[in-house]
Amino acid sequence: MRSKSNLLLILGAFFILGFGALVLFLPKGEGATVKRGEKLYMEQCMNCHGKDGKGLGKLIPGLHHAELLQKERLICAIRYGKSGPLEVDGQVYNGQMPPNFALDDGEIRDIVNYVYAQFAEAPKSLDLPEVQDQLRNCAQANPRLQW
């Protein structure tokens, strides 16, 4: 009798632990975009900005600066690239980030969400319409980019 109830207790504990782990680690909506974004970041951005987002000397800016993470700058840079002088924290960068037209809107959203989760002081998450809105504005704000 005693051993039977012990067994039940143990099984119950396993069940609760297992279920808890599932709830904790199952990618939720937000977790999934960040997870996809991580993979894309490692393929598309890590070579220049570094795995830790620290950039490279005075050649490539780090991504910890809040100004660079303003959504219009981040989103537009990913699709259209960025060149010309860029000043942040008293340091002037003058490099070239190439445009990347191979990424679709959803992939850009994923990268943005990973960058926010990883490097922003106050992590946030954008949804697809927000990103698409911004992408339209990039093209309007800079006629040079409309090709």
Binding site: N47, C48, G50, L56, G57, K58, L59, I60, Q96, P98
Partner: protein, 229 residues
């Protein structure tokens, strides 16, 4: 009586089993020599083993000085092939070279050389700007530019690879290798410069080379192309 030779055999067997591994361990303390030995008949009727060393060259550095193999003589060198406008793996290679520079920068027995494979664009002043912004300084780290064909053949000699390729991002196809050569200009290792763990190993191997007697191993002779002017 019969047991003694038997034991002897067993001992011999154990000894011969154990020995290769301890020999291998001893060998491991020294890095291997990459490439093929050159066997040369000597006057005494015997054979000398010589080892090919990296070829001679003359290129310009970011300081505007002309650099030759003589500036590297007696030093351990790490070489890579990159270009300043490279959109792909070069920033990672530069980041890893920078780690090495920061680690050995004050050691005048070590020299890093980054060859531009786009020398038309990467002039002395472009390289000077790149080096300054990266945080690299001569004479611990030279950025070299000059004749493109020479630089491409050097890439080959260093066990790396570079060529013009209009379909490659940035216009050049090239390898991310970092090549380690010893004080006599013999290649002792080639590492993936985009992989921080391989570069950890490279740094340890540099320590081993620094500890090695300069005359260790087969005598080195420069072979292949000789573009020294």
């Amino acid at each position: 009586m019969k047991m003694i030779p038997f034991f002897g055999l067993v001992l011999l067997f154990l000894w011969s089993c154990g020995n290769p591994s301890t020999n291998a361990e001893k060998e491991l303390k020294h890095l291997p020599f990459m490439g093929e030995p050159m066997l040369i008949q000597n006057d005494q009727g015997g054979v000398d083993t010589l080892w090919p060393a990296l070829p001679a060259f003359t290129l310009a550095s970011q300081t505007g000085d002309s650099i030759t193999q003589l500036d590297l003589a007696g030093k351990i060198r790490v070489a890579d092939f990159f270009f300043t406008s490279c959109p792909t793996i070069c920033p990672m290679m530069s980041a890893q070279m920078l780690r090495i520079h920061e680690r050995f920068g004050s050691n005048d027995q070590v020299v890093l050389i980054s060859h531009s494979i786009d020398p038309e664009h990467d002039s002395v002043s472009v390289l000077a700007d790149y080096a300054e912004k990266l945080g690299a300084s001569a004479p611990g780290w030279f950025f070299l530019t000059g004749d493109m064909d020479l630089i491409f053949s050097l890439a080959d000699a260093y066990g790396s690879f570079a060529e013009k390729d209009p379909n490659a991002p940035g216009g050049f196809a090239h390898s991310g290798a970092l090549t380690l050569a010893d004080r006599q200009g013999r290649i002792r290792g080639v590492y993936d410069g985009t992989n921080p763990e391989e570069v950890d190993r490279l740094i340890l191997d540099m320590e081993r080379l620094l500890a090695e007697a300069p005359d260790y191993g087969p005598e080195a002779v420069p072979v292949g192309l000789d573009y020294a002017q």
